[in-house]
Each structure stands twice: as structure tokens, then as C-alpha cells.
């Protein structure tokens, strides 16, 4: 039997996160190139939609199940997955680089005596080895690296790898009840933040900077974000000034993001900010200073007064969306 590569899926409240489909696609693609057998693993209580994973090239899902697994427990999930990995002699694990994945993957790596490369934006097989490309210095540079350990753990940045559909496949779901899970460390509750969408997960982000002139003007950003179904982001300057919460900060000491569309409003483009968003697929800049560095990374720009432009843009988007 071939060695195994495991796609570690992520569920919240019983539903698979979008990154799980990307993880499944990456694992099934690597399995073909490395001649490995691929399986998906999910830890949870009740998990819906597991059948869907077959569309992404995986025919077998292992559900490590316990009623205590509805919420994340780092100790419990680590033990359940590492035990299963050892049992089937897995040689490679693919995990999403989410809050959960970034907590879980390094712990699994220690348990499996393996190395771990996080936040990969490309995984390529060269002469039978997996070469990982990842950003460093928040995206100011990139490294190519490989792991020398027998078992290899990689986390992939959400929204970067394509979840590729393979039609006409079926999926075999195997449930393994986990008795007496390790609950030394356990999530007891979740406090939802006010914003509708998180910048780390959003496909479109509308960000505001110092050019917004004050926190009271962020309603312009919020309206545009609403019309696009986007998350609200912010520059470090406005977070440090207390206009916006830190969770919205994009850049080197905030979040590094790669949405399909990034709209920067009143953001001049400090090097730390550009590092955090320049891998966005399309960038729009609206700023009154035509020489602002943000225009050097923008695909499209309007060099004018955002207080005049944003309401018109919001109306225009609403029109095409209705």
C-alpha cells in the first residue's frame, strides 16, 4: 500500500471552512505527483457536507469524532490527528494556514518528529521533493524551502490555491470515535466581532487610511464594503490612532492578505502596508496624491478626492448588483 498524504480539513460549527477544499485539492494533486494515497481527516462532533470533498479529488474521509470536538481543543485535536497519522504512517500533512491550522500544524509536527513550513503560497514537486514557496518579511521577499524530516507538514495560505473540481467521484466517510480526548486546553466560548467579515478570509477588502480624516468618515468605507460584500480593512496609522480595531489592520504588524480585489482609500502606501497587501490579485487605489506609493502597486487608480468619489462608486456598485 502506498504511503499516505493527509488533507487536514477544518470545520467550524459543523461546516467545512472554504480553505478545506483548497487543502483537499492541494493534497490530491501532490498525491498524484508523489505517488501517494490521499485521505482527508476532519476532527469534530457532527460535521456536514463531508461528501462534498469528493469533488476535490478525495475519495476517503476519516472523521475523528467526539462530542467534545465541536469546539477546538488544541490538545485534543493534536492528539487525535497525530495518533491517526502514526497509525497509517502518513508522510505528509497539508493544513490550512488559518488561526486553527497555525496552532495545530506545529504541534502535529513535533508529535510526528517532523518539520513544518507555514503559509505556503506554492508547493511544487521537483525531483520527488516538495519545494515550498512562502513570503517572508510580510511579503517583502519570498523563500523557497524544503523539509528534511521523514514526515512533512505544510500549511497553505487561504485564497491562494485553487480548489479544483473533479466531477463524478464518490466519497467514503469513515467515522472513528475518539474516546477520552485530551482536553487540557479547550475553547469554552466564542465572541463574534462586530464586523461582518474578517479581512483574513474576505475575497474583497475595502481599506481606509489616514486620508479618511477621522473615524466618523469610515461609514463611507463600510457602505462601499457592504455594496461589494467586502470586509473592512485599515492601515496601521488609523489603528494606532484608535479609529479602527486592530483586527482590521492590514500590513506587516497586522494581517497579510491576498484577496481578489483590494480597494485602498486614502492610504498612501507605507512599505509595511504594501508588504501586507501587494499579493492581492487586483488593487484599486483612491487617493488625492497622485505620487503616493500605493499607485505603484495599483492596477487601477483614481487620483482625486475620496469624499467625492466613494459615494458615487458605492451607488454604481449597488446599481450593478441589484
Amino acid at each position: 500500500m502506498a504511503n499516505k498524504i493527509l488533507a487536514i480539513l477544518e470545520q467550524r460549527e459543523g461546516s467545512l471552512k472554504k480553505v478545506s477544499y483548497e487543502v483537499a485539492s492541494v493534497a490530491s494533486k501532490l498525491a498524484k505527483e508523489l505517488n501517494l494515497e490521499v485521505e482527508a481527516v476532519v476532527v469534530g462532533a457532527d460535521v456536514n457536507d463531508l461528501n462534498n470533498i469528493s469533488k476535490y479529488g478525495i475519495q476517503k474521509v476519516i472523521h475523528l469524532k467526539n462530542s467534545e470536538f465541536s469546539n477546538y481543543t488544541s490538545s485534543g485535536y493534536t492528539e487525535a490527528i497525530s495518533n491517526y497519522s502514526k497509525e497509517v504512517n502518513a508522510v505528509c500533512l497539508i493544513v490550512g494556514n488559518t488561526s486553527l491550522g497555525n496552532d495545530l500544524a506545529p504541534r502535529l509536527a513535533v508529535k510526528l518528529n517532523s518539520g513544518c513550513i507555514t503559509d505556503c503560497v506554492n508547493l511544487q514537486v521537483e525531483s520527488g521533493e516538495v519545494i515550498a514557496t512562502r513570503p517572508i518579511y510580510a511579503g517583502k521577499a519570498f523563500t523557497k524551502a524544503k523539509l528534511s524530516s521523514v514526515v512533512k507538514v505544510f500549511t497553505i495560505r487561504p485564497n491562494v490555491f485553487k480548489a479544483e473540481l473533479n466531477e463524478n467521484e464518490t466519497c467514503n466517510i469513515e467515522i472513528k470515535e475518539i474516546s477520552s480526548p485530551n482536553l487540557k486546553s479547550k475553547v469554552v466560548s466564542f465572541k463574534k466581532s462586530e464586523g461582518k467579515l474578517d479581512v483574513a478570509e474576505a475575497d474583497i477588502i475595502v481599506s481606509g487610511g489616514r486620508g479618511m480624516k477621522g473615524p466618523e468618515n469610515f461609514n463611507l468605507i463600510e457602505s462601499l464594503a457592504d455594496s461589494l460584500g467586502a470586509a473592512v480593512g485599515a492601515s496601521r496609522a488609523v489603528v494606532d490612532a484608535g479609529w479602527r480595531p486592530h483586527r482590521e489592520q492590514v500590513g506587516q504588524t497586522g494581517k497579510t492578505v491576498s484577496p481578489s480585489l483590494y480597494v485602498a482609500c486614502g492610504i498612501s502606501g507605507a512599505i509595511q502596508h504594501l508588504a501586507g497587501m501587494s499579493t492581492s490579485k487586483y488593487i484599486v487605489a483612491i487617493n488625492k496624491d497622485k505620487d503616493a506609493p500605493i499607485f505603484s502597486v495599483a492596477d487601477y487608480g483614481i487620483a482625486g478626492d475620496l469624499f467625492e468619489i466613494l459615494p458615487v462608486l458605492t451607488e454604481e456598485i449597488k446599481k450593478i448588483r441589484s
Binding site: S74, S99, L100, N102, D103, A105, P106, R107, A109, K111, S114, G115, C116, T118, D119, I131, P135, I136, Y137, A138, G139, K140, A141, F142, T143, A145, K146, S148, S185, K186, V187, F190, K191, S193, D198, E201, P245, H246, Q252, G254, L261, A270, I271, Q272, Y282, I283, K290, S296, A298, Y300, G301, I302, A303, G304, D305, E308, L313, E316, I317, I320
Partner: protein
Amino acid sequence: MKIAVCVSHVPDTATRIKIGADRKTIDPTGVTYIINPYDEFAVEEALKTKEKIGGDSIVYAISVGGDTNKESIRKALAMGVDEGILLKDDSIRDSFGIAHALADEIKSLGCEIAFFGKQSVDFDNSITGQVTAELLGYNCVPVVVDFKLEGSKITAEREIEGGREVVETELPAIITTQKGLNEPRYASLKGIMASKKKTIAEKAAAQSPNHSEIIDMNLPTSKQPGRILGTDSSAVAELVKLLREEAKVI
């Protein structure tokens, strides 16, 4: 109680990165190094924890690397940390190599809690705290924005997508710190003067093989500057059309 805070020494975030001749490291010419910004929250939380517990609690700042890391250890001392320890190794270590050295020292000092910045803003691996904890068999809560310690019980809030998770666990533990947890104190003049007089203990870092190997380092391909479509809202119609028809993102 013995409390550790682990600090790294990194290029200032304003640094424009240049790749070194070996294409595996950055060119350090003209680069200013600072204490990792997230580690300042770790230092602050370690000091607050000591102040809360009182008694004969002691805070150690530990760093793995070359002599220049002493600057960041000194910064922690100036903020109020009691003792500085440099685990000396001039070679390049990955997160696992660093974690092995830190785990070894945390264990031999007998620290029940250690604070780390949630990531170093150089390699951004964001795993050193978790790996250290797992090597020690300690509990670990990463990316913490609220921290309470009562007796040996820890209640910590960690930032995740769309909100905060409240995590309960117990000592011994490692906490990795996120912006928002606290306001790091400024070093007082007295603190700065005192830190200069303190001796930073030097020890050889515990040996550990790296698990990863850097093959190449490069800069992102620079993008062609885009089009400025206009200077007022009359350009909006064209912008929307391009986003729909050319970029196909809306």
C-alpha cells in the same frame, strides 16, 4: 514564580529588504535591527504577571542567536525584566532549532510560564511558541489579546477569524502575544541606566538539527504601475467597467 519572555532581534519593519549574495539570507548592510514588535507585548505581559503575583517572582528574557541579539535583551531589561540570557549560536536555525534551545533553557530555569511574540516579523513562521510548548509538554495559547491567570488557571482570549476564542487551560503554559493585549511600557531613564549595568548571561544554545532548508530567496517581481483613470468621480464608470470586464472581480 519564574517567568520567561523569549525575544528575537529582527530588521525594523521600515527596512527595504535586499537579498544577500548567497540568495539564502538578506543583505544586512544598512539594516537597523530592533526587538521584534510582538515581543514587546510579551515583555509587558510578563512584567504585569510578575507584578500581579508579587513575592519573589523573577522574569528572564531569553534570546537565541549571535551577540547582536543582546541589544534586544537589553531593551527587555530596560523595560524591567530581571535577568537576560543569550543562548549563543551564530549559525542559522529554523523555528524548530530555536524552539529546542528555548525549551531546554525554560526547563532548566524551571519557568512555569513563558511569553512569546505571536510571530517574528522576519520569517513570519508564527510557530516557535507552539513548538516550544509541545517540546516541553506545556499548554499553549497562541495569538492572545486578553490574559488572566488565577492560581494555576489560565483564561485567555485569542484572536481568530471573525472574533475571539476564549480558551481555558492551566500552568505550565506558553502564551504568544498579539497587538491589543496591552500597551508596552516605555523604558524609564532609570531602567535604561540599570540595564546597561546588568550582565547578560551567555550560554551555548542546545544543539538541534534544523528540519527545513532554504534553497533560494528572492524579491517579488515588481508590478507594472497601473492606470490612473481620472481625478474625480467621472472616472468611476470606467473603473467599474474594468473591474467587471477586464479584472472580472465584481
